[in-house]
């Protein structure tokens, strides 16, 4: 068995990786469906729907992977976050739930009203979860108002959570939304033709500029915020998870970057891949544009992760009850076993996912309105 701290770090990376994959696959689906209410022609909508249709389900499943991963790797975080942020997660859930019927049912009836309704619902089901995920991540920098009962370790919340929607949280929500809008647009440019492709190119540039401005202002804001610092913990933080000494120290979030300058690669990669994505779009190199967009998503996630480490779910109500990579994880056996299983399964999964993408797109790189018309009864 690998040593526990190493396992905890590996899993921190893996959860991050899964979230990046989720954001960059289901992310473009969410970005695409946001177009539906704004497109005028039904043929265009069908194209937008069908360039994501063959793989949307597999893409969305990464959220199940992420949720399951959270449950098994950090059960304390999973239970504290999902119960404490009850209505945030209910909202995420109920909007996410509109996606499968949206994709499956929308084109099964010819009624205009029916399709129009699903267009709007699909757009909502893409944007609302993305926005709320952003809000939650943003609030991690401020901490959540919970404590943990010391005998039986039940998480207890002390404030109504409407305060999630504070200015900083909202800013992070919008960053998240513009990130997937940019990503979805790059995908649209890559997989469609003529006017739709041109639309994707225009919007990609616009969203990219807005995103980089929002991200930069949030980054400056984070530097100004007081940050959580873990000064001391028990020799066995898993067995005695509440024996921490945590303090709020001005400008501490950026401290990690100073301590370990390698962290600076994250923002560097982020900005560089945005530039790359923009230039690739300019030169009509759509595949490069899309993959640069993926890289920038990874960069943004890494920026957040590096700043927060080792905190996963900090407590603003009782700083010492903050949940970290060290005190909130499962035991060594569970982490080790799941690592062996997880690495094998993740490799197999990635392999057949890539095969799926290859089957769908290797012969025909783009989809046109004519293709949809030819497959009226098979396509969505």
């Amino acid at each position: 068995m690998l040593p526990l701290p190493l396992l905890q770090i590996i899993w921190w990376f893996l959860i991050g990786l899964i979230l990046i994959i989720y954001a960059s696959t289901a992310g473009y689906d969410a970005g695409l469906t946001a177009y539906l209410p704004f497109l005028k022609k039904e043929e265009d909508k069908r194209v937008v729907l069908n360039i994501s249709a063959p793989t949307w389900d597999g893409n969305q499943t990464w959220v199940v992977f992420a949720g399951g991963g959270l449950f098994v790797v950090w059960p304390m975080v999973y239970s504290a976050a999902f119960s404490g942020l009850y209505f945030a997660f209910i909202a995420i859930l109920w909007t996410l739930l509109l996606r499968p019927p949206g994709y499956d049912y929308r084109s099964k009836l010819h009624s205009h009203l029916w399709r129009r309704t699903w267009d709007v619902l699909l757009a909502i089901s893409g944007l609302v979860p993305v926005f709320l995920f952003g809000v939650i991540v943003g609030n991690a920098f401020l901490g959540f108002p919970f404590t943990i009962e010391p005998h039986f370790f039940q998480p207890i919340y002390h404030v109504e959570l409407s305060h999630l929607l504070n200015p900083f949280g909202l800013l992070c929500g919008f960053i998240s939304v513009f990130m997937i809008l940019m990503h979805g647009s790059s995908y649209l440019a890559r997989r469609s033709e003529n006017e739709l492709c041109a639309l994707g190119r225009r919007m990609h540039k616009l969203f990219l500029v807005i995103l980089s401005l929002l991200f930069t202002s949030a980054a400056l804001w984070v530097i100004a915020l007081p940050g959580f610092v873990l000064l001391h913990q028990d020799a066995d933080p898993l067995l005695y998870p509440l024996q921490n000494t945590v303090q709020l120290i001005p400008h501490a979030w950026i401290e990690r970057y100073h301590q370990n300058p390698l962290c600076y690669f994250a923002p560097l990669v982020t900005y560089a891949s945005w530039m790359m994505s923009y230039i690739a779009n300019q030169k009509a190199r759509f595949t490069l544009c899309f993959w640069s967009s993926v890289l920038s998503i990874a960069g943004v996630m890494a920026c957040v992760g590096f700043a927060l480490f080792p905190f996963v779910f900090p407590s603003s109500f009782n700083l010492n009850h903050s949940l970290t990579v060290w005190n909130a994880s499962s035991g060594q056996y569970a982490l080790n076993t799941m690592l062996c299983i997880g690495v094998v399964l993740l490799s197999v999964t990635l392999w057949y996912k890539l095969w799926t993408f290859k089957v769908i797109w290797s012969k025909q790189k783009t989809l046109s309105a004519k293709d949809v018309a030819d497959n009226e009864h098979l396509f969505y």
């Binding site: 005695y240 569970a334 999964t349």
Partner: protein, 521 residues
């Protein structure tokens, strides 16, 4: 732990029960229909006759409508463990969650990815490769059952787990054992074949509808034949596993067995089986009952010398366990931040298996250490599940299975005698019997879960302590929301299902079937 109100616990249970049972309206059809599609596509590969490919595509369309709902309601459950059962999730994260995570990675992922290829791969894949995709899709769906049942069986009988008192979590010792345990394997078989049975009756019923209308007869007869053969195997196998499951329950959850059979007092062997009875939890006796001599011993123990322990014989054991559990409870309450000494740990380990019984007292007392003898008796009695519910869900399940099996036998007989088309009464009966095996499945799950009460993790963690510390208004609001949301989606699903089932294979739009061209589609 916060004192939790009964209302909060009830609302949380209602929400989970509602969403889980709702989920299982869609899962079994996906489970069974995917393998039926495999069978049909295999026939297509072998014979190269286009009608078989049409069968795969048409029944695949109905699968898609059903599948969307299965996905929707499945994601809910993964969220709900953390949302409504925070304490449960935290405590069992290291032991139960690995299986759930494996389910997400393997089953859900494989099924969802192959599902896309199944529909969009017809022109992009060779027939052989497409068949392979269909197999993978079915395999993914079945893997899901394997994992979920392994996890649920662990909740019914938590093996290979130790309670760590320092941080009150359950530590897993051996993951593989959770899959390999007989209880898990038997229940996997039971649920999987129940799904195959449901799908068979579904396909037979809808095919019967086309036969009644004399529309697309060749297509319907072939579908009917494939499904009835499949259904025959399924109905016999599901019964075999169900019977084996009974033996396991008698061994690991004797109180559930007592409740299922309405046994308040232990009968002398050979014991009589109550076919009908009206158990009363308050008076601890059965109202009116009809008994079959010898049958209980035969059913529950497969012998004439065995018997089923009654509730009144289980209670003294439980009272003792409450008393033992209190010793472990006292040790935990001594420690807030102090470290445990090895002696205390050793003492704790002796009484740890009974800690859960002491926790049952939390329902009545804020401090269980002050418990009197009458409190202990009350807590022990709360360890017995609702006898009426267990008794009747079991019998409903059994009756619905018998009905479905009889229909399948008749169907095969009529099919072999080539008189199926003339037996209109039979065709009509099987069409309207589509919901029957569903009722059996829902009753079966209700039995499994109600019968495990008052525990979420058997004899370790009581249900009323497992809930999240939420306000009752919050759970009430979400429960109402779920009911409205699910029912509207269900209405839409049923509308589409009926529409496409009525259209029949003509909905493929390939010009080979009745009712074409279709208006409004």
């Amino acid at each position: 732990m916060l004192p939790t109100t009964d209302l909060l616990v009830d609302l949380s249970r209602m929400q989970f029960g509602f969403t889980a049972l709702f989920h299982f309206l869609f899962v079994p059809l996906t489970l069974g229909l995917t393998w039926l599609l495999v069978a049909m596509e295999w026939l297509y590969l072998k014979t190269n006759r286009i009608i078989y490919r049409d069968m795969v595509q048409f029944w695949g369309k109905l699968l898609a409508i059903n599948f969307a709902m299965g996905v929707v309601t499945g994601i809910t459950l993964e969220f709900e463990f953390g949302q409504n059962w925070a304490y449960f999730s935290r405590m069992i994260g290291g032991s139960f969650a690995p299986i759930l995570a494996i389910e997400g990675i393997t089953a859900f992922m494989l099924e969802a990815t192959m599902f896309g290829l199944f529909f969009f791969g017809w022109q992009k894949l060779s027939p052989r490769k497409h068949f392979f995709v269909t197999v993978l899709m079915a395999f993914g769906a079945s893997l899901s059952i394997v994992n979920i049942l392994a996890a649920n069986s662990w909740m019914q009988h938590p093996i290979e787990t130790v309670l760590v008192p320092e941080n009150m979590s359950l530590r897993l010792l051996h993951l593989g054992a959770l899959y390999l345990h007989a209880l898990a394997q038997i229940r996997i078989g039971h649920v999987a074949f129940a799904g195959f049975l449901i799908a068979s009756i579904f396909v037979m019923g809808i095919s019967a509808y086309y036969l009644l209308l004399k529309q697309d007869v060749a297509f319907a007869l072939r579908s009917f034949a494939v499904a009835s053969g499949f259904g025959l195997i399924a109905s016999l196998t599901v019964a075999f596993f169900g019977d084996q499951n009974g033996l396991q329950v008698a061994q690991y959850e004797p109180e559930k067995m007592a409740a299922i059979e309405g046994q308040w007092e232990t009968q002398k062997a050979p014991a009589a089986w109550d076919l009908i009875a009206f158990p009363n939890q308050k008076t601890r006796s059965n109202g009116f009952s009809i008994q079959i001599p010898y049958a209980l011993s035969l059913i529950a123990t497969h012998s004439l010398s065995g018997t089923v322990p009654g509730v009144n014989q289980i209670l003294p054991i439980y009272e003792n366990r409450v008393r033992n559990g209190l010793r472990a409870y006292a040790l935990i309450m001594q420690h807030t931040s102090l470290k445990w000494t090895p002696e205390q740990k050793a003492l704790f380990d002796v009484y740890a298996p009974d800690l859960g019984f002491a926790l049952l007292l939390r329902h009545y007392l804020t401090d269980p250490l002050t418990a009197t003898e009458s409190d202990i008796a009350r807590a022990a009695y709360s360890g017995i599940p609702d006898v009426f519910a267990c008794f009747w869900t079991f019998r409903i399940m059994l009756a619905c299975w018998a009905w479905s099996t009889a229909l399948i036998f008749l169907g095969i007989i009529f099919l072999l005698r080539r008189t199926l088309l003339e037996k209109r009464w039979f065709l009509r009966t099987i069409l309207y019997s589509i919901p029957i095996p569903y009722i059996a499945a829902e009753a079966g799950w209700t039995l499994a879960e109600v019968g495990r009460q008052p525990w979420t993790v058997h004899e370790l963690l009581p249900t009323f302590l497992s809930v999240s510390a939420l306000s009752t208004q919050a759970v009430f609001t979400s429960l109402i929301g779920f009911v409205i949301f699910y029912c509207s989606l269900f209405a839409i699903e049923l509308f589409l299902m009926f529409k496409y089932a009525r259209l029949g294979p003509s909905s493929l739009g390939n010009g080979r079937y009745a009712l074409e061209p279709i208006e409004g589609d």
